[in-house]
């Protein structure tokens, strides 16, 4: 009898704890989504509603004109950006070049380091490893000088190539290649396949999951670049949406065209968020494995 009462009390306690947990989690989710909700709502009202300081909590009727203004002209205020259509294109191109570039050169170098025996192998490996310790932020000015002397200022090449060296991606592929049984290589050799065919027909198909996982992380990394584009591009035709959005803020005056800025903010965050949500499984795999 006593045992039953104890068990019932335990069950009640556990149920209570669980309801509390759900409560906290829902609260957390709401707090996290709140700034985005306000931005989303703000992007559907006109400039005077927001400028007056009447912060609306529910959507209004001006969505189409605000998004059209952001899409075609980048706003009309004192601090204008390029049209969102152009900036989204630039951001997408930059993110894709960086992600594809990093994956390609890391796959190749990991392949060389793991499957070949040659002089200077360790030297090459450590040179690549060193880049981990030199993020672009700490060598801003000298890297900028290199870009200028190579005549890459204001170009998509200057925007992307310096960012595509990747120690983390190389380490990840190296780790994965080391788990591939030697028998694969021996079998390939017996069939008369050379290193190039082995890479193309066996290694590449085996790496697809890792490539997908890495792609999600690197696409977001590329899309969210801020300091580097700010520094090496001042041509409006190459402006990316993250930099353009920040430019529209100016000094943060109340007279800004906040409705268009909010529409621009939604456009700037939608693509990477969509990638994470739609490719969640690869995203988590990529995140947890690149940090090993």
């Amino acid at each position: 009898m006593d045992d039953d009462a104890l068990a019932a009390a335990t069950r009640r306690r556990q149920a209570r704890e669980r309801i509390m947990s759900h409560g906290w989690l829902i609260l957390g989710v709401l707090i996290f989504a709140f700034p985005v909700w306000i931005t989303l709502v703000g992007s559907t009202h006109d400039a005077s509603t927001i400028g007056r300081g009447d912060v609306p909590l529910l959507p209004g009727p001006h969505a189409i004109e605000n998004y059209t203004a952001a899409w075609t002209s980048g706003g009309e205020g004192r601090y204008r950006a390029s049209p969102a259509s152009l900036m989204l294109w630039n951001s997408a191109l930059m993110a894709l070049c960086i992600a594809a570039g990093k994956i390609t050169i890391s796959l190749l170098s990991a392949y060389a380091v793991v499957f070949f025996q040659f002089r200077g192998r360790m030297l090459a490996f450590w040179t690549i490893f060193l880049t981990l310790m030199l993020p672009v932020e700490v060598r801003i000015i000298p890297t900028y000088q290199v870009i200028v002397s190579l005549d890459l200022f204001n170009s998509m090449a200057g925007l992307t190539i310096p960012l595509i060296a990747s120690a983390t991606a190389t380490l990840l592929f190296r780790q994965f290649f080391l788990t591939i049984p030697d028998e694969y290589v021996e079998a390939a050799k017996m069939d008369g396949a050379g290193p190039v065919r082995f890479f193309r027909d066996i290694l590449l198909p085996l790496s697809v999951t890792n490539i997908a996982a890495l792609f999600v992380i690197l696409f977001i990394y590329g899309w969210n670049q801020y300091l580097w584009p700010l520094l090496v591009v001042n041509d409006r035709g190459l402006e990316t949406i993250v930099v353009g959005l920040a430019k529209m803020i100016g000094n943060g005056d109340a007279q800004n065209e906040w409705n268009v800025i909010m529409a621009m903010a939604v456009l700037a965050l939608l693509p990477p968020v969509a990638v994470v949500v739609l490719m969640q499984r690869w995203f988590i795999k990529g995140l947890t494995e690149t940090e090993k």
Binding site: R18, S21, W24, L25, G28, V29, F32, P35, I38, T39, G51, V55, I105, L108, S109, A112, V113, V114, F115, F116, F118, A124, T127, I128, L130, L132, P135, E137, V138, R139, I140, P142, T143, V146, L150, I161, P162, A165, S166, L178, V185, I220, N224, Y226, L227, V242, L245, A246, I249, N251, G252, A265, V273, V276, V277, Q280, I284, L287, T288, K292
Partner: protein, 292 residues
């Protein structure tokens, strides 16, 4: 390391060439240039430069502005790490208890990771703007004179919130994975022994999570140091005064606006030392974890 089954020297070097080229041109050369410039002093016209040894470093380290920026960096990074890790741990513990709906919460909490730091800054600006922001207005109505453009402490608070908001997702994923690897039987045993949830957390869960926490601490510090330039640039521009100027921000300002190469290079070198130290700590820790 026995998987070295192809012979030849030309092919592996060819495979490594793109990665090594990018590394040498955009990483090693600029890093070398930074070290070289940090021991030189240019005359104001940039025509002559002389070797001054460590004088630039000595000057930087006693400069009140540099010390101010170092203090700001310390306050900013510690606050971001504590806030982002604390809330992530709390939410992860709740998600681990909730059992049902765990994956839904995961989806609803991880997306802020994809938002660029500069865009996160803009989202929080919409809330905390003194005249158009919901919270900014509420604070002013409640009698607190809120204007992050005038008050340094408030500006710092705002950049900390915006920077931490984005990083919680990352910590949440790792904490949840850590919690899910703790055997449920251990926790049940403690519950049967009558340990209350709070006690269970501090005596069992928290110690078991300490490797994850330590790893995340390093990652969060690196994030707060280097990846948050966009938050500060878009939100406060280092102001008001120099209240939110961090070390990275100062290197940018000195190099781009004031063009003081020797001093800027010395500051870059100091930052490199910090990254190298943090990376070394991170890798030592990972080595240990592998041995467990």
């Amino acid at each position: 390391m026995k998987k070295t089954l192809f012979k030849g020297t030309a092919l592996p070097w060819l495979l490594l060439a793109p990665q090594l080229a990018v590394t040498c041109i955009f990483f090693l050369w600029p890093a070398g240039a930074a070290i070289w410039q940090s021991v030189l002093q240019e005359d104001p016209w940039g025509t002559r430069s002389e070797f001054v040894g460590l004088r630039n470093f000595a000057e930087v380290l006693v400069e009140p502005e540099w010390r101010g920026a170092a203090l700001n960096t310390l306050v900013f990074s510690t606050s971001v790490a504590v806030l982002a890790m604390g809330s992530a741990l709390f939410l992860a513990v709740q998600a681990d208890k909730a059992i049902r709906g765990g994956n839904a919460y995961k989806t609803l909490l991880i997306w802020p990771y994809a938002v660029a730091p500069a865009v996160a800054a803009v989202l929080w600006l919409f809330l905390f703007h003194p005249s158009i922001g919901l919270i900014g207005q509420a604070l002013n109505q409640a009698g607190i004179a809120w204007d992050y453009k005038l008050n340094g402490g408030q500006a710092m608070t705002l950049v900390i919130i915006a920077a931490a908001w984005k990083q919680v997702s990352y910590n949440f994923i790792f904490f949840l994975a850590g919690l899910q690897s703790i055997p449920k039987s251990v926790l049940e045993a403690a519950a049967i022994d009558g340990a209350r949830p709070v006690r269970r957390f501090w005596t069992i869960i928290f110690p078991l999570l300490s490797p994850t926490s330590f790893f995340l601490l390093v990652v969060n510090l690196v994030y707060a140091f280097f990846d948050t330039f966009g938050v500060i640039h878009a939100l406060t521009g280092g102001g008001p005064g120099k209240a939110t100027e961090t070390l990275i921000y100062k290197v940018y300002v000195e190099g781009v606006q004031n063009v003081n190469l020797g001093s800027s290079a010395a500051q870059s070198v100091i930052l490199m030392v910090i990254v190298i130290a943090l990376t070394a700590v991170q890798f030592r820790f990972i080595e240990r974890k592998v041995h467990y």
